[in-house]
Amino acid sequence: MTTTRLVVVAGIRDMAGNRWLAAYFAAFVVVAQSLFWFGGTGPQVVLSLLNVVLMVVPLVSLVFGAMHVYASREFVELLLAQPVRRRDLFTGLYLGLALPLTAAFVLGAGIPVLMNRGFGANGIAVLALLVAGAGLTFSCVAIATWIALRTDDRLKGIGMALAAWLATSLLYDGAVLAFASAFGDWPIEKPMLAMMVTNPVDLARVLVLAQVDASALMGYTGALFERTFGSALGSLVALGALALWCVGPWFLAARRFDARDF
């Protein structure tokens, strides 16, 4: 555990001076603050931020995450020469990346909301947004780490990270839409919900949606959606699935790290 702690601290120290991370933090502050400046009310700001979160958080976490893993290669090789457990080192590496990114997002989006008293009536919605964004960061960093550990070629690795971003953020929903139009005559509510669970970006979206757009989701005539989105249970399931999307890729990446010949 000491190893993990040391590596995490080293990672955070390294990231603290990173210009890209500072820019990431600043971008959220500027976007959230300008949403308030341009006359946004609480729910509108949450929804506009949701769009940013769904696009930007996976993009930065995946691409920046992959780049960072490639950049830390020599550092890792150096540490592996010491008598440390690989799993501890890996955990430190992962957290040293995921924690600063999450903090940049949560603070960057949260501080303007706090300053403009955006919590108040929309407290749960804002909280859902922050939790969803944080979960998405952890998940995407794990996926990025896994990709970077599998692929030695940096260019190829970053290309794969970009492809993963495009797939999860845009193409996947397009496929779901196509599926729904093609099989619209069949009872597809359950498959649709299952499809939402198998994509972390959709999970994050649904988490926020259940708080902001419950009135619309409950307007669906089937009882399934009402049961899913009208109760806390639905949100808990989504949260659990998002947690699985963090643990799963993390485990894959960790196994890769253990087996890898550096």
Partner: protein, 417 residues
Amino acid sequence: MVSTRQVGIVGLLGISVVLCVRVAAAQIVVDPRGPVRSITQALEMVKAGGRITVRAGTYREPTLIVRTAGVTLEGEGWPVLDGESQRAVLIVTADDVTIRGLEVARTGVSNIEDRAGIRVRDAAHCRIEHNRLRDNLFGIYLQRALGCVIADNDVTAHGDGQSTSGNGIHLWYSPQTTVERNHIAGQRDGIYFEFSAGGITRHNTSERNQRYGLHFMFSDSCRYEFNTFRANNSGVAVMYSRGITIHHNRFEQSLGGAAYGLLLKEILGGEISENAFSENSTGMYLEGSSHLAVRDNDFVSNGWAAKVLASAVDNTFTGNRFEGNAFDVSTNSRSSNSTFDRNWWDAYKGYDLDRDGVGDTPFYPVRLFALIVEQHQPTLVLLRSPMVAVLDAAERVFPVLTPEALVDKHPLMRSPR
């Protein structure tokens, strides 16, 4: 010889004695400690225009029937008239009767008769005010009553389903009724009008009812003002009526696939103005209705702000505010038979170069995604997905599928309120 004067005095005395007796008869006090212990007894004694004061206590009597015109039946310290889950409690069959200050409770459920806490049958000009109605099948039931006033009553029940509960205030063939400042909760329909024209319903709160907060059919020329309808299972539904005015009401928190803030079906002519529709699955649902002026309403945080079907003809939407709705307008046709003009839409992204407060480009309130959801409901889970935003944007640039006719050519740049 008896003088004329003496006759006069005796006569006067006689008249005053009679008057005294009449006054005494006019004010009957019912008290559990006597002398008059039951309302039944008081109702037998009371003369036309008389007054019965009921002192605090619980009265378990056979169904009470007020047959004498002009009687005032008034409670003091909230006497309870208990139906013991066995029977209807109070029936009025005479004109000009006033019922005030009573707690009428527990008619019990019957599948054979429509038991009511207070029923007015074939009578005119009754006043039913400041009563409490608790756990009755029907609360106040007017049946062929004319020109009655129902005011300041608190009607609550704990019905556990539509089939085992009745309506809070039920009007059947009862024209020109005024229903005001009542609070109704937990009944089947909060306020129900059928064949009851020319009524005024104002300042009522109707909430958490099993079915509709307000439900009327075949009731022309009625006004509904300053009411609040909240969290009713199916919202509010008004049907088959002409010339109605719905003004300054609040329609809130009607959630569910068959729940509507305000459902209008076959309503011909009328005005729907300055109402607030918020947090409903569907704010307003317009079907087969025509010549309605929908103006200056607020549609805020609804799933669908307005569903306007093609069967709704010649309705005009002006000065309305659409803010924070998942969908502003949806419809079932590419043509549009209603007009939207000078509304404020938070989704409008246009500009105003000549600074006249009206956007220079038109606004099409029906999104492509609204059409997709209309056809394939499960796609609703993709709401707010970036992919959907891309599709909507593409459709806005080259409208192919969304109804071009459904357009606001003069969208307001600033919120009117």
